[in-house]
């Protein structure tokens, strides 16, 4: 005994075994994922489904139920996305995977490396592409002096906007693409930062000891993130 499903393939009804249904569903899912970004994806998928319906109808002429073997045969005729890639498909040239880029939208973060109070202004400057956070700070100061709204807004942003922690956060904050090269850049910057900090610590160890200790702890948590 086997459970069956009633399905619609390319506008045609089929009764199909449970295991056959699973394999058909998996196949169509793979096909869809493969063509999702192709031009005319919808039409391609529609054509393929229609043709599969035709092939299935030919196979089920003398019986009522589509079996797993039927699905296997039809898939062999249509081919899997792996066949498309090694066969004669007109695809995009295979790019080098090392240069693959993941585009990210710009995100608002607080910048812990350039802050007077909470890093809100420098984060805003990075978000809006303003070179020098000083302008944002001046604007905030003016708003604060003018109507008194500046300070509550600042505090609200301080509380709500997350601080940039990982290299990915920093890139997203600056609106840069997250790829291996850019992450390496960020890591380099951080390492430089740390060595600068260390030499500063050496220079005026006594006066800054307490403050730097906390900062070093911060840097360490940073490194753990990497």
């Amino acid at each position: 005994m086997n459970k069956t499903h009633n399905i619609n393939v390319g506008g045609y009804p089929f009764t199909i075994d449970d295991d056959a249904y699973a394999s058909l569903e998996g196949y169509l899912g793979k096909i869809e994922a493969h063509f999702r970004r192709s031009e005319g994806a919808e039409e391609i998928l529609d054509d393929i489904e229609r043709r599969m319906a035709e092939l299935l109808q030919e196979r089920t002429k003398n019986k009522k139920i589509v079996s797993k073997d039927d699905i296997k045969q039809v898939i062999a005729i249509m081919g899997t996305p792996e066949d498309f890639d090694t066969g004669s498909e007109f695809g995009e040239p295979e790019g080098n995977t090392s240069g693959r880029e993941y585009k990210t939208g710009k995100k608002l973060y607080r910048d812990p490396d350039d802050k007077l109070i909470g890093g809100v202004c420098s984060g805003l400057a990075a978000y809006f592409g303003i070179q020098d956070p000083l302008w944002v700070r001046i604007a905030f100061a003016l708003v604060a002096l003018g109507g008194g709204l500046g300070i509550p807004i600042y505090l609200l942003l301080w509380a709500l906007v997350p601080v940039a922690e990982t290299p990915g956060d920093f890139l997203a904050m600056r609106g840069e693409k997250i790829n291996v090269k850019n992450i390496a850049k960020i890591v380099e910057e951080q390492v430089e930062n740390i060595s600068e900090q260390l030499s500063e610590i050496g220079q005026d160890w006594k006066s800054k000891r307490r403050k730097k200790k906390s900062e070093r702890r911060q840097r360490k948590s940073w490194k753990d993130h990497l």
């Binding site: 005319g40 391609i44 054509d47 229609r50 081919g79 899997t80 996305p81 498909e89």
Partner: protein
């Protein structure tokens, strides 16, 4: 450098020409086109055919008509548009030039074998 890759690239290059040529003989159904291409290993599975036909159609080289089928859903039969016909003619010229160049440059190789 993989031989298989180079071979696949060469086949890809002539695939469009062959598909247009087959369709130019008369209205064609994708699986019929595939039967002819399979014989020469130009295409192995049907799935590769549909994106290609859609692309050629969207480029204005092909048109299609729905035809009822006794065995199942209505079928799309493809034909060449005027643009497709002249495109095919251009491709064929290029192909003939290529054949000449390849024959010329491999002449000694073939004679030595």
């Amino acid at each position: 450098m993989k031989l298989e890759n180079t071979k696949a690239q060469m086949r890809k290059g002539v695939l469009e020409l062959c598909i247009l040529a087959i369709i130019s003989e008369g209205e064609a159904y994708p699986s019929d086109i595939i039967e002819k291409l399979k014989e020469n290993e130009l295409i192995v599975v049907e799935g590769t055919m549909y994106p290609l036909l859609t692309r050629l159609k969207n480029a204005g080289l092909l048109g299609y008509q729905w035809q009822e089928s006794a065995s199942g859903p209505p079928r799309k039969y493809y034909h060449l548009t005027d643009e497709g016909t002249s495109f095919l003619r251009d491709l064929l010229d290029t192909w003939n030039q290529l054949v000449n160049v390849v024959t010329q440059s491999t002449k000694n190789l073939v004679e030595n074998e």
